[in-house]
């Protein structure tokens, strides 16, 4: 008995949606089996997870605010990564670019924060973070265009350079190191939230909405238009399909690769400046792994800008909710979210395969 993989005709949207839904439900079921095996009631656990412990919690508004803080950088980073992925430029360097953006934004806040008006400092922070992160991403693009290096490896390695630079800054007490508090014997990052911080809008009650939420939404719409309605967006998708075709059509592919690598990384830098500008302090864990999770989000969303926001929101429920759920279950630690995320990605990609292909049994004699 032999099998053949055959390309399927395009499935309608609802059929695809059902396939993905089945994949997610199957992943949750596998999670449930694991939970049962370690003696945790999965229904209880998932209830806590998906409500993020907000039911009957007098500090539920805090949960939502913290949730949004986790959601924003992830959504923006995923959108930025999707830009490069569309072009089949494998930017795995989100972590490094985010870190470079964070460090430079913090530097601006610490050096200019007390002299310039706050709105101007915030703008300079964003611009500088975008430039620095963008150039850091451009480096991998440049090496690819110039020497044909593999951008997956390059961006991956550049992550560690950035990460260890951040550790170095975070651990080295010295007169040049303005990032650390002078008064503390042990290294502690300076908090600048008193003089530089993105403003929040009171939403009634105790709930506050950071202005970055609105900015991120606007950027999302702009990126959508950029990809769907502009010449640049078209060029990106052509290169993604075939570099040969793009060249034949007279596109300057090198220029487009460099430009897109820069924009992708610069947007991650912007996400970083939103993050440090809201937190008011740098940390060695500033990225919260958005550079990695962003890759998963971008793929789960099939690089669709609108879907990226939806998937980011869901992934954050998963991450945030599992932390909350884990507080009450001694056996389950916060890593459960990562595992569940992995299973979901695996099954969704499998579903994707079956959406695009079908397996046919080859009859004897054929």
């Amino acid at each position: 008995m032999r099998f053949h993989v055959v390309k399927r005709d395009n499935w309608p949207l609802w059929k695809r949606a059902v396939a993905y839904l089945i994949a997610v439900v199957a992943a949750l079921l596998i999670g449930a089996v694991i939970l049962l095996a370690i003696g945790v009631n999965p229904i209880d656990y998932y209830y806590q997870l998906f409500t993020m412990g907000t039911v009957g919690n007098r500090f539920a508004y805090k949960t939502f605010m913290n949730y949004i803080k986790e959601f924003l950088p992830l959504a923006l980073t995923s959108v930025a990564l999707s830009l490069a992925f569309k072009m089949k430029f494998w930017n795995i360097g989100g972590e490094g670019q985010f870190i470079m953006g964070s460090i430079s934004a913090t530097y601006i806040a610490l050096t200019l924060g007390q002299t310039l008006p706050m709105w101007l400092t915030l703008i300079v922070m964003c611009v500088v973070a975008m430039l620095v992160a963008g150039l850091y991403g451009l480096l991998a693009g440049f090496l690819k265009v110039k020497f044909g290096t593999n951008e997956t490896l390059m961006t991956l390695m550049l992550n560690y350079i950035a990460l260890y630079l951040l550790y170095f800054i975070g651990e080295t007490k010295a007169s040049w190191n303005i990032f650390l508090q002078e008064s503390s014997m042990r290294p502690v990052f300076v908090n600048f939230s008193k003089f530089v911080s993105f403003p929040s809008i009171k939403m009634g009650g105790k709930f506050e909405l950071n202005i970055c939420v609105i900015l991120t939404a606007i950027i999302g719409v702009l990126i959508y238009i950029y990809l769907k309605r502009t010449k640049h967006g078209y060029e990106i998708s052509v290169i993604g399909d075939s570099v040969g075709t793009a060249k034949y059509a007279g596109m300057k592919t090198n220029k487009i690769v460099l430009r897109t690598a820069f924009i992708s990384a610069a947007l991650i830098g912007l996400a970083a400046s939103f993050k440090v500008g809201s937190a008011g302090v740098l940390s060695t864990a500033i990225t919260d792994d958005v550079g990695w999770t962003g890759v998963i989000v971008a793929w789960l969303a099939q690089l669709n800008t609108g879907m990226i926001f939806v998937v980011s929101a869901l992934i954050c429920v998963l991450q945030f909710g599992s932390t909350v759920a884990a507080t009450t279950y001694a056996q389950v630690d916060s890593s459960f979210a990562n595992m569940l995320q992995g299973i979901i990605l695996f099954l969704v990609l499998a579903a994707d395969f079956f959406i695009r292909f079908r397996i046919v049994r080859v009859k004897k004699g054929e």
């Binding site: 913290n66 986790e70 500033i286 909350v324 507080t327 001694a330 056996q331």
Partner: protein, 400 residues
């Protein structure tokens, strides 16, 4: 079918009995102190089986059991929280949402986030390990005189070095003079070694990281092969340095837990923490202080700093690998420290013979550049130095 119903009914009855029993015991104690809800924020996983987070988790659960609190329903943990103020704040918000009464944060980098949280939630107690910030009401910090336990383990190492005739002692440390925590540990250990063997030299090799299993092993091996060290002490998370010592046929002093099972032929004794001693003290204070603002007053100090006397730090049982009279010498010194007659960083030096006889004599305490830290006969350095500003090695210590 009848049988099934009978089983079901009897099960129901049993259940109701159990629940009655539970409510009865609550009524019997009659105070809501037993309702204490404990929150904890960990840097690594609560399911760890060794290392720093494990030591704290073990301490918290042990203390709760001692006090009759239920670990399954009264302990709420957010784990794997990095030293990022935003993430620490989110963890605090989550725990406060679970209505906890006291939150323990175990990692140093939580310091600023816990400080602001303590101001924002005055009805909750915040307690921070290894930190130095506090307020007068609901926020304290805690740490221990590990250097006292280090001194005792140093005695074991010193006697062993006399026995083997090898004066070179190695020390694999996370950091050196950058942190008072590591510097005081190294210095306490070195003074213990020198009390027995004045010719001993302590070579320190720094990891630049609190946990790094690969280099913990590699550095221990290098100290043995390049510096001729016969004993390896350590200030790092895993037992790798002890295992490296065992593989080289040398000896060693562990840290954090009894590492004899890891290196049965090499391990002498380890400086260890009994975190449950503090956690019990703090939980009792939280149960008895009435409201969170009285917590620091009930504890008596905003900075708990226990030592051998409180049994907060100790050494693991002396192994068979130790030289004769080790137990005798250590017991004698322990008594001096517990009775408050003597402390490690003072102008009084102890001399310990191979027979385990301890004598006191006034002597300058010198750093390794020859500066006098405490003049002969002087009192011990202030606690503030040991918790925060000690940034030198004592004489006889050098970096390798």
């Amino acid at each position: 079918m009848k049988k099934l119903i009978a089983i079901f009914l009897s099960a129901l009855m049993l259940l109701s009995l159990v629940s009655c029993g539970a409510s009865d015991s609550n009524e019997a104690t009659g105070d809501n102190a037993k309702d204490l809800k404990v929150g904890a924020i960990y840097i690594n996983s609560k399911n760890d089986t060794a290392g720093y987070t494990y030591a704290h988790h073990n301490g918290i659960t042990t203390a709760m059991k001692e006090l009759g609190l239920d670990v399954n329903t009264q302990l709420f943990i957010v784990d794997e929280v990095p030293e990022d103020p935003e993430q620490v704040r989110a963890a605090v918000d989550t725990l406060v949402g679970k209505n906890v009464d006291i939150i323990f944060g175990i990692s140093f980098g939580y310091i600023d986030a816990l400080e602001t949280a303590a101001a924002e939630y005055p009805e909750v107690i915040f307690s921070h390990a290894t930190g130095y910030k506090s307020n007068e009401t609901n926020f304290n910090n805690y740490f221990g005189r590990a250097y006292q336990a280090r001194y005792l383990s140093g005695i074991a190492a010193g006697l062993k070095s006399l026995q083997t005739g090898n004066n070179n002692v190695g020390y694999v440390a996370a950091y050196g003079t950058e942190y008072a925590e590591t510097a005081s540990g190294i210095n306490g250990f070195a003074l213990g070694v020198q009390a027995v063997n004045p010719n001993a030299k302590v070579y320190v090799k720094k990891l630049g990281n609190w946990a790094d299993e690969v280099n913990e092993s590699a550095f221990a091996t290098e100290l043995i092969s390049s510096f001729g060290c016969g004993i390896i002490a350590q200030h790092c998370d895993s037992a790798q340095p002890q295992i490296a010592a065992e593989n080289a046929g040398m000896f060693g002093c562990g840290y954090n837990s009894d590492m004899s099972p890891d290196a049965p032929k090499a391990h002498l004794t380890a400086a260890i923490w009994n975190w449950n001693v503090y956690y019990r003290t703090a939980m009792e204070a939280a149960m008895n202080c009435g409201s969170a603002d009285n917590f620091v007053a009930t504890m008596g100090t905003p900075a708990y700093y226990g030592g051998l006397k409180e049994n907060f730090v100790d050494i693991s049982p002396i192994s068979e690998n130790c030289a004769p009279n080790t137990q005798k010498a250590i017991d004698a010194v322990r008594e001096l420290i517990v009775n408050g007659e003597w402390d490690v960083f003072s102008g009084v030096k102890l001399s310990i013979t191979a027979d385990g006889v301890v004598t006191k004599a006034d002597a300058d305490l010198l750093d390794n550049a020859g500066n006098v830290i405490v003049a002969a006969g002087g009192a011990s350095v202030e606690d503030g130095v040991i918790t925060g500003t000690m940034n030198y090695y004592v004489a006889g210590v050098q970096e390798a």
